[in-house]
């Protein structure tokens, strides 16, 4: 395989990363304040999406770069997800960016983040995974601190420090995996585990626990969640909206890849161990996230804790994977896809509302249905979907992922699902309390307002997705299942 053929395999990532350079170049060449960065960014995203579609249609699969990179439907599924999320955030933040004197840098960083995440999900080698993960992380540290105001800078520093610790733990874990198995490629590790080296159980366990700590940071799983509420509250909200979905999706994607493919599938001597680990993390995240969210008065913190609880829901799918559920991987993917649409919709609505009313306090959202029916309706729909009430995508996603856990055929997984469904009832309290404040309470200020056109576009798109997937989930489920089928030992 020639060099160019290999680059062809990582086309979407290269397009996104190269596009970031083009955006920065445009900033230098074009007159200040005139450059259409948002359009340029969308163009780059469209190109990358086109390339990914090309991959999907021509069936470009298999390893490249000596097996460090794989191009499969699993990676493409997530690449589409990242591109869609980045495009939505780009459109939604056009107004916010106008107030920023670093607009070119903002768009370029978004593209770098999307590009490195695309590379991450194609990663099949510990070294590449680490590099891609760290590139993503560094870009996100910068993005969070981008506005350089007090809270933003503080959030950026917090994110950086906890992220650095997580990265340290993860590389330590990689060292254990490499030291034990003698391989950095996931295939190599997998064949070592499958060979049944039971004597290596302890170092392997140490390795994957430390790796899970690093990934758990990305996914905002308890006990690696500490940054989430503070960063959600302090960081610039458009960037947080991106972070909340893309970082989580990236974390779960690579966790699926490493634990499922890399640790040799579901029937090995350690699969029960890491399944239990994710089960414990899931329970801790759901309980902590939901209980902490009950008392929040700031919408951003509420969404922060909610994202921790939702990570717990998704981790159920991970636990089910290892116990041999055929629906586990597709459950995680389907849930993440619906979560991207739902959480972005909720965040965009919050951005549009709070830009106008100048507050993120839940109490100030009173009577919003009269002031801005569209925003209140979209936010309510997304809150219903997060709770898991039909006919929304979140309802199907929860049933699907719970079903995958029950299907795995382990008693402890049924207990896990029981904990999860009780948590759903708890989460209804805070999600619907916010919905009630918007719809039932009287407004303090009667002035009506509308979101900007670009915001309306993404809000409608998110809402339609949430409803459509809720009513016609079959296409997305099939896509997730087909993608999940490629996720196996090469």
């Amino acid at each position: 395989m020639t060099g160019w053929e290999q680059v062809y395999h990582i086309g979407p990532a290269v397009t996104l990363l190269g596009g970031a350079g083009v955006v920065l170049l445009a900033d230098m060449i074009l007159p200040r304040g005139r450059a259409p960065f948002a359009l340029l960014t969308l163009l780059v995203l469209a190109l990358a999406a086109g390339w990914a579609i090309w991959h999907a249609n021509t069936g470009t699969t298999g390893p490249s770069f000596d097996g460090a990179v794989v191009t499969d439907r699993f990676a493409l599924f997530f690449i589409f997800l990242f591109i869609a999320a980045t495009a939505a955030v780009t459109i939604a933040s056009t107004d916010w960016v106008k107030k920023l004197d670093l607009s070119a840098e903002y768009y370029a960083l978004l593209l770098v983040a999307a590009g490195s995440m695309s590379l991450l999900v194609q990663g099949n080698d510990l070294i590449l995974i680490f590099v891609a993960l760290e590139t993503t992380a560094i870009v996100q540290y910068v993005l969070v601190g981008l506005t350089r105001r007090d809270r933003s800078a503080e959030a950026g520093i917090k994110y950086l420090i906890s992220g650095a610790v997580a990265a340290g733990l993860m590389i330590y874990g990689f060292a254990f995996l490499f030291g034990t198995t003698g391989a950095t490629s996931l295939d190599g590790i997998a064949s070592f585990v499958q060979a049944g080296h039971e004597e290596a159980r302890l170092p392997l366990t140490l390795g994957f626990v430390l790796v899970a700590a690093g990934f758990g940071f990305k996914m905002a799983l308890v006990p690696f969640h500490g940054w989430a509420p503070d960063v959600y509250q302090g960081g610039p909200t458009p960037i947080i909206s991106f972070l909340s979905v893309a970082s989580k999706a990236g974390g779960f994607a690579i966790a699926l890849r490493l634990f499922y493919t890399g640790l040799g599938g579901s029937e090995t001597f350690i699969s029960e161990d890491w399944a239990m680990m994710f089960g414990v993390l899931a329970v801790a995240s759901m309980l902590f996230g939901n209980i902490a969210a009950l008392v929040q008065t700031d919408v951003r913190r509420l969404l922060g804790y909610s994202s921790i609880a939702q990570a717990g829901n998704i981790a159920i799918g991970l636990a089910a994977v290892s116990a041999g559920s055929t629906l586990g991987p597709s459950g995680v993917m389907f849930f993440l896809a619906t979560y991207v649409a739902t959480n972005l919709g909720a965040f965009f609505a919050v951005i549009a509302i709070s830009q106008r009313i100048g507050s993120y306090e839940i109490g100030d959202y009173a009577g919003l249905i009269r002031r801005s029916p569209m925003l209140a309706a979209v936010l309510m729909l997304c809150l219903l979907s997060l709770t898991g009430i039909p006919p929304t995508a979140g309802f199907i996603a929860k049933i699907y992922i719970f079903n995958s856990a029950v299907q795995a055929g382990e008693q402890w997984l049924i207990v896990l699902v029981a904990v999860a469904v009780v948590n759903t009832a708890v989460s209804a309290y805070y999600y619907l309390r916010l919905a009630r404040t918007m719809i039932v309470d009287d407004a303090k200020d009667e002035m009506t307002f509308r979101p900007t056109l670009s915001m309306q576009v993404v809000l409608v798109f998110a809402a339609v997705t949430v409803i459509f997937v809720g009513l016609v989930p079959a296409p997305l489920i099939s896509a997730a299942q087909r993608a999940a089928e490629t996720l196996q030992i090469q």
Partner: protein, 490 residues
Amino acid sequence: MVTLFLLLPLAGALLALFLPRERELDARWIALLFSGLAFAVSIVIFVTFDPDQSGYQFVDQFTWINPSGAGFEVQYFVGVDGLSAPMVLLLGLLSVVAVLVSFNIDERVKEYFAYLLLLETAVAGVFLSLDLIQFFLFWELELLPMYMLISIWGSGRNRYSAMKFLIYTLAGSAFMLVGFLVIGVDAGTFEISALTEMPPQDALIPLSLVFWAIMIAFLVKLPVFPVHTWLPDAHTDAPTAVSVMLAGVLLKMGGYGILRIALPILPEQAHDFRFVLAAIAGFSVLYGAVITLQQRDLKRLIAYSSVSHMGYVLLGIAALGAVGLSGAALQMFTHGTITGLLFVMVGLIYERTHTRDITSMSGLMHRMPLIGTVMLIAGLASLGLPGLSGFVAELTIFLGAFDAHPAATIAGIFGVVLAAGYILWMVQRIFHGPADEKWADLKDANCWWEHVAMGSLVVVIVAIGIFPGIITDSIESGIAPIAQIFEANL
């Protein structure tokens, strides 16, 4: 046909929601039109339903979610049998009544009727669904409209009551979902009739646990002691029409679920726990009746009497014989009409007196003879006077349950004595006695919609009291296959 019944209210809800603001009051007519059409459809279904034919009639079925991988197939599968046909008729009738008694709503009219119609669709879905996941979807769909109706248009501590209703129902249904998934995954199908033919013999967790996981949702909804506390709160603070729907059809979802799902799918477990169920039933009847006697608030009085009366339903079910089960199904129908009427009357009285405190009312018969007379008829029906529908149902239950559970049945019969006490005492205190000057300018029922609402329910109550065969033919054909399971095997 049944799909039409399901979709008509939904269409009306959407139409009402998109009315221009200046024509908001037209929402009432849209609601009346669509609930009337649905009622007409339900009459056609009930009349053309053939009790001699076994199995479901008017079936609509297609695969809703059928992913490529095995393990999660969900159908859209609706149809009626002898059990659901009367429920559909009851729902059609009470929805029209609920719309009529809401004609004086003047606040947020569009939304109100949209939620009311959405509620009708959700409950219809519960009565018609023949697939467990679809059943669960509609079960959850009913939460949102109820929550909003109580929160926005209720009175008193309506927010607290609405949230309590929501959390109780969600917590109950959470376990139900686990039970459904365990059964469905084990059998490889979620279709109720397939599961009835081959009841699960063995599952991952003990089937008795599965039985209670499913039962808890139905018992909360029914409701029985000790999970009834949401009901008096929800009733007291809900607007009249919502009380009518709540007492008339929503509580029936619990009994219907037991008859449709819990008994046929898990007959052995039902048989094992029949004494527990009978004990709960007997205690609920007495406890409800005693608490009812102490009420001073008219609405709370009727609400607690519902707890007592729904205890009869569970008593009939616990007998596990053809007679007892038929009585339970009949009691659900008659209680729906009788208590529906009682709540209509309470609403009419409250609108005029602006109080629900029984002790502050006296001699109202002088001012409003028509309301007083209808209230008396409803009250007599409620306490089981021969010639009215309540008598037939309660007698059937006692006949069916006496052999199996003599103690609980005697408790139930004693409950009837107490019912005579609280109903007659209530009527006496409100309508009889000296005419209080305070109420001198009260008017009797004088609007056409009040007359239609009262009249239609009185006709049904009297008609069933005299010719119970109208309903019982259908019910017996629906109960026969369930009773057969118990007679054949246990």
